[in-house]
């Protein structure tokens, strides 16, 4: 599915990225990602995840691939949720560099909102980085309010 340009830019900006997965018994799991590489033409997004910090999430993706991701802008809570099927792919130098840039950028964005570096550091971890490649199937608006949960785009 083609990802529209505005959304692609939003996903790649300093937004908080949260992953939702589940295991074979439908027990859900949460993780944070440290950066997203959007391939609009291919309709997929690579999400950088520390397997050291979030081992169950990475294991769930490997096991069944079902993934939901929210992108939320911390200043105004504008957010989107994307769902689809994901696989774990090998990280390229591009991924590692992007994660590093994302972590710096995010730390400074959160700093502007009054959160100290030592407080945000546990959320921005790139140890044992893997890339989770999500093929986008559904996009939802998620900003708190009456329209939250509305499907914006979805493929049959």
């Amino acid at each position: 599915m083609l990802i529209n340009q505005d959304l692609a830019a939003f996903m790649a900006s300093p937004v908080m990225i949260i992953l939702g997965t589940r295991d074979d018994f439908l027990a859900p799991e949460i993780a944070r990602a440290v950066g997203a590489v959007v391939r609009r033409d291919k309709g997929h997004v690579d999400l950088m995840v520390s397997e050291w910090q979030w081992p169950k999430t990475v294991a769930n993706v490997r096991a069944n691939g079902q993934l939901a991701v929210t992108f939320a802008r911390p200043s105004d809570y504008v957010s989107y949720q994307i769902k689809g099927h994901a696989t774990v792919v090998s990280t390229a130098a591009e991924h590692v560099a992007l994660a590093r840039r994302y972590m710096e950028c995010m730390a400074s964005t959160l700093g502007e909102l009054g959160l100290e570096q030592r407080v945000v550091a546990p959320w921005l971890v790139d140890r044992d980085l893997v890339a989770v490649r999500l093929s986008v199937q559904e996009i939802f608006e998620q900003t708190p309010g009456a329209r939250a949960g509305r499907l914006i785009e979805g493929q049959p």
């Binding site: 589940r22 979030w54 550091a121 546990p122 998620q142 309010g145």
Partner: protein, 446 residues
Amino acid sequence: MTIRLRDLAACFEGVIPSIIATAAPDGTPNISYLSHVVLVDDERVALSNQFFSKTAANVRTNPAAAVLIVDPRDGGQYRLDVTFEQTMDSGWLFEEMAVQLQATSAQIGMGEVMRLRGVDVYQVRAVHAVPSPMPGQELSSREAGLQLMAAAAVARRVSQATDVDSIIDAVLEGLREAFTFSHAMLLLKDPGGERLVTLGSRGYERSGIGSEVLVGEGIIGMAASKRRPVRVSDMSRIRRFNSAVRASSDEENRTRTIALPGMPDAMSQVALPMVAHGVLRGVLFLESSARLAFTKEDEAALAVVAMQAAAALALAEAEAGEGLAKAPSAANKHKVAGRQFRVVHHAYDDSIFIDNEYLVKGVPGRLLMHLLRIHLREGRVEFTNREIRLSEELRLPDIKDNLETRLLLLRRRLEEKAAPVQLLRIGRGRVRLEVAGPAVLEEATG
């Protein structure tokens, strides 16, 4: 090491948003940000249900969920394995969450959007610390035992106080010394109306004695109307109700209203209802310029202090005594020396101005006029509660339960304004007027 939920109380302060992950029966995961997660006990948490309808739908078919909470002090993350139990749309927990939600959202203009639909209660099966590369930080979390000891220290002080005046001081001094909370005020409900009146405060530039809050207005008024503690731990995005109120003598004279004191940079506030015999007596309010200044344990300890103070005040009012009628002393009509002062009474709101300075309005205003009239007529300066209660002139059907409080408000306002007339309590059920000069009473016309 097992982590107990109660050790994570700071995570439930609503400073850093919490997150919930659920899964639909077909396995599709879903993520939602949560505005409020409440710690119910060591085994349960409650989530406010406003708009995350997908979450609500998922947990009704697959009750397993994961919740991520964050300690705002060090950023530490904790994952809770939870199982959905039930939705409640009434009851104690629902009311408490509705009040908290209202307190934090009404003021940012989202009152309607954030209306609470239900409270979803989840059983917590396990708590996991998310790995962090940061060294574990020593957090100076106050032990719950300390709050209990502080509450006991305040209770001891209050238990020794015998009248409304000293009970209020015992509470405020106790909060400062035993809890080291520097900014506090105590307001009592005016039985005649839907207002709370400040009878004492500590830590503010102005005492604000006599300032009023409408029941239902702001955090203080909300604690009164809902009869529940209301606590805010991070006011950085919340516009303050009273920020624009200018506090000056000129302003008081013009509006006949005393401004509520307040910290311009308050980050944390807590308001505790004072209830005794099932009746709301007032509100105890504290604030701080620090984030997260009041923990859940502080709130619980302060709630106990507020309730005990309410009981002590109710007892003091009931036992205030009628005062023995003095043997009719020869009316000592000696002439009062000193500078003459002018007391103007406005009948429509019973407001009193002394030498053009606004003093007080309502019942305390009427009381002062009454005492001064008798003083001028009979030369008397001592009065008993009994005669005030029975006074034909005052005609106050509602006064009998709150005479002590009204006299106290009058006494403290006279003291604060350094008025040429002062009121002294000279024993059980007796007061004395001290005048610095001859009083001239006037009824304002128009």
